[in-house]
């Protein structure tokens, strides 16, 4: 028995190594080699498929002895999301005593979507067996062979990721057709408004602005100025409006988009799409309405929790993310507020259809052993399953990447969630390209420069596109 297992292990190991090599070899001059290796991989996988399927179904893939899996996640250990993760993991640990998962909070620093610690750990071979990551950098890191290729597991199980998850989630977990992670939760950004302030300003508290034109009107009524300084801001365009969200408000629905940040057909970065340029100009115009110095000074007095600007009645409308709902429930239970699609010009429909979906998921870093990988995969399936996703969403007031949770009653339990769920099917994901991280940091910088009046949106975005295209030549 044990001999058979070890032979199996060996073969599986060979499959993984070959798959890793295939990804590692994703360079133009090694295309032929890559194809051969891939054939090789599929062959090995085919041979092993039967046994693997058998294994997966019985869900006891532990060859011998108990396995302990380390998991790193980036939220603070006191965070609600972390508590949800711990709770779901406890349930897992109870059910599978042979595959104990030990979660550890390893916060990412320095604006990185993945912590440098994880990066250095992967290089040094001291990585955890499972890592929680921001899904949009998953392709970048998959291209750099940081993750184990999960495709053999996916195929063995017959899992159809596009069927299981929304398209925006399915797109982000894959790179060049291979699967590298599974999603566990998602958020989006939309317009939020303070109903009490609406009432005060003589506006209908239950009717959010239906277009950019109306947004202007509303903001005029909500703005308040005293002694040359704003004491209340009608619409704050800066908070949580990351360039992605901004662009995706203006690009329609992912099912039938007006455009995107990357054109896979042409292999070109299209973050200078006319709509996206216009969207950035829109933000700049809004910032100029208040003045950037004034706006940053105004916002510097606010922060997360008790000192939130909208919660304390200093901001009438703003763009914010799903996770704020939990904060308002905790710190401002009395606050009356709503969520609506972001306003865009009347000519483009008045209200945004889509939004940028920020998905988080779990991946298995390179270097995780074979037995551990199998156990980790089971854990990934558990955590991306209905029960765990719902628990996460409840803890962090986020949204499900799973299609089968779309009709779940909990997502209709508050008007805010119901409003967001309407946007979910139209959501966008950030392009799954090898230079996703570069595109992200460059867009952030371009956005920051634009609102500080250091460059025109068109020129700034042209430069980003050029830079990304240049970097993409290497892949």
């Amino acid at each position: 028995m044990s001999r058979q297992v070890s032979r199996r292990q060996f073969l599986r190991g060979a499959a993984f190594a070959a798959a890793g090599a295939a990804v590692a070899a994703c360079q133009p001059q090694t295309v032929i080699v890559e194809k051969e290796v891939e054939k090789e991989v599929t062959k090995v996988v085919e041979v092993e498929k039967e046994k693997v399927v058998e294994k997966v179904i019985t869900a006891t893939p532990v060859p011998k002895g108990p396995i302990t899996l380390d998991l790193w996640y980036r939220w603070g250990s006191e965070d609600g999301t972390s508590k949800a993760l711990e709770a779901s993991t406890d349930a897992w640990n109870e059910r599978y005593p042979d595959m104990q998962v030990k979660p550890l909070s390893v916060p990412a620093g320095g604006g990185a979507m993945i912590s440098e610690k994880l990066m250095t750990a992967i290089i040094s071979g001291t990585a955890p067996h499972i890592a929680e990551i921001d899904m949009f950098v998953c392709p970048s890191w998959a291209a750099r062979a940081a993750w184990q290729d999960l495709t053999p597991f996916v195929e063995a199980e017959g899992l159809d990721v596009e069927q299981e998850f929304f398209l925006w989630a399915a797109d982000e977990i894959r790179y060049k057709g291979r699967v590298f992670a599974l999603p566990i939760m998602t958020d989006l950004t939309a317009l939020a408004w303070n109903k009490q302030l609406f009432e005060e300003a003589g506006l209908d508290p239950d009717r959010p602005p239906q277009s950019n034109e109306e947004l202007l009107e509303y903001a005029d009524k909500l703005d308040k100025k005293e002694g040359g300084r704003f004491t209340r801001i009608g619409f704050d365009p800066t908070t949580t409006v990351v360039p992605w969200a901004l662009g995706y408000f203006w690009l329609g629905c992912k099912e039938d988009p007006v455009g995107d940040f990357y054109d896979f057909g042409a292999g070109k970065c299209t973050c200078n799409h006319p709509r996206i340029v216009e969207a950035l100009q829109w933000k700049v115009d809004w910032v100029n309405r208040y003045g950037i110095e004034e706006l940053t000074a105004f916002n510097s007095a606010f922060g997360w929790g008790e000192i939130d600007g909208m919660g304390n009645g200093f901001i009438g409308m703003r763009i914010l993310g799903s996770w704020f709902e939990g904060m308002y429930q905790e710190y401002f239970p009395e606050l009356e507020w709503g969520i609506a699609p972001a306003p865009i010009p009347e000519a483009y429909g008045g209200q945004a259809q889509g939004s940028c979906m920020g998905t988080e998921g779990l991946a298995i870093p390179r270097g995780t052993g074979i037995a551990e990988s199998e156990a980790a995969w089971q854990y990934l399936r558990w955590m991306s399953g209905q029960e765990a996703v719902l628990a996460f969403n409840k803890a962090a007031t986020n949204l499900p990447p799973r299609r089968d949770l779309f009709d779940h009653e909990w997502y209709q339990s508050t008007p805010q969630k119901a409003a967001q769920m309407k946007i979910v099917p139209c959501g966008f994901n950030r392009p799954a390209i090898a230079e996703g991280e570069l595109l992200w940091t460059e867009l952030l910088a371009a956005d920051d420069k634009a609102i500080h009046g250091q460059g025109e949106p068109q020129a700034l975005l042209d430069e980003v596109a050029r830079k990304v295209d240049e970097a993409m030549e290497n892949w």
Partner: protein, 297 residues
């Protein structure tokens, strides 16, 4: 010339001059006190703000105009910070790293500095320029290759990468010590050589005692840089039980975000406090020591 001028002054004139001189001297003192005092207050403002904020209840933190003296004085931020981070463990870890790398630097650096300053030998100046050059090399250049080396040695997730290099000297301290050695007259060694002393004896018995103040400066700098080191521990230490105070604080900031200012200020105060206390107890040795002993020998 001056003396002749003095002799023709009358006694009254001398008295007057003396009094004037004394007045000037007093005024000078006073203005120095004034400048130092005013500057000192402004230097302390950030500290005051740090401690004051850390003792505020949340509702007072963002108050405008600001509350200077927290009322009531509220310690819950400190309690929360100590509960959230294993603070004393971090202090212990940092102390171990600090003490061992200080030891390393004190063993290795004077040797090299002596070799660079007290006698000529072929290649000395070239080697010294190279040594100077290493100070200009950005940490980032050596960071990745060194990481791979330490990793191959299985030294990651240990304090070794943070300690061992100091036993091979550092350009900064060698340069500093060399500057001090250069100001000690060569004649001193020459005389000893004539008396038959070996180079090792000259180094150990004459030069080393003379450069005690410089060694104190190095001790201070090394312990400071170790205590506040950020990038090194960040790269090499992943396990929380090995963390130093600095990355412990960084992790805390990352976990809590930069908005709960009162809590962040409490954590920052805790991080700074141990080395401030150490400094208060040793500052006579350090600053006064440097000041009083001097390099005159």
């Amino acid at each position: 010339m001056d003396t002749t001028e003095h002799t023709i002054l009358t006694r009254a004139q001398i008295d007057y001059r003396k009094r004037l001189h004394r007045l000037k001297w007093l005024l000078g003192r006073l203005s120095i006190h004034l400048i130092l005092g005013l500057l000192g207050i402004s230097w302390l403002v950030p500290f005051f703000w740090l401690v004051s904020t850390s003792l505020k209840v949340d509702s007072q933190v963002m108050r405008y105009p600001p509350v200077w003296i927290p009322r009531p004085v509220d310690w819950h931020n400190y309690i929360e910070a100590i509960q959230a981070i294993p603070f004393f463990l971090y202090v212990r870890n940092t102390l171990i790293i600090t003490i061992l790398s200080c030891l390393g630097s004190l063993l290795s650096c004077p040797l090299a500095a002596y070799g660079f300053s007290r006698f000529r030998w072929p290649g000395r100046d070239l080697l010294f320029i190279i040594t100077l050059g290493t100070m200009m090399i950005p940490y980032q250049v050596t960071m990745i290759p060194l990481f791979l080396v330490f990793n191959a040695l299985k030294w990651t997730n240990s304090w070794l990468p943070l300690i061992v290099p100091s036993f091979f000297g550092g350009a900064f301290y060698i340069f500093l010590l060399r500057q001090f050695f250069l100001t000690i007259p060569l004649e001193l060694s020459d005389a000893a050589t004539i008396d038959g002393a070996s180079e090792a004896r000259i180094f150990l018995q004459i030069l080393l005692p003379l450069c005690r103040p410089a060694l104190a400066v190095i001790l201070l700098f090394e312990s400071l840089s170790r205590w506040t080191d950020f990038l090194g521990p960040l790269i090499y230490l992943n396990r929380e039980d090995l963390f130093t105070v600095s990355i412990g604080l960084q992790a805390f900031v990352m976990q809590r975000g930069t908005t709960n200012w009162a809590l962040l200020m409490a954590a920052s105060t805790l991080t700074t406090l141990p080395i401030v206390i150490l400094f208060i107890f040793t500052q006579r040795t350090f600053i006064e020591g440097i000041a009083l002993t001097g390099i005159k020998g």
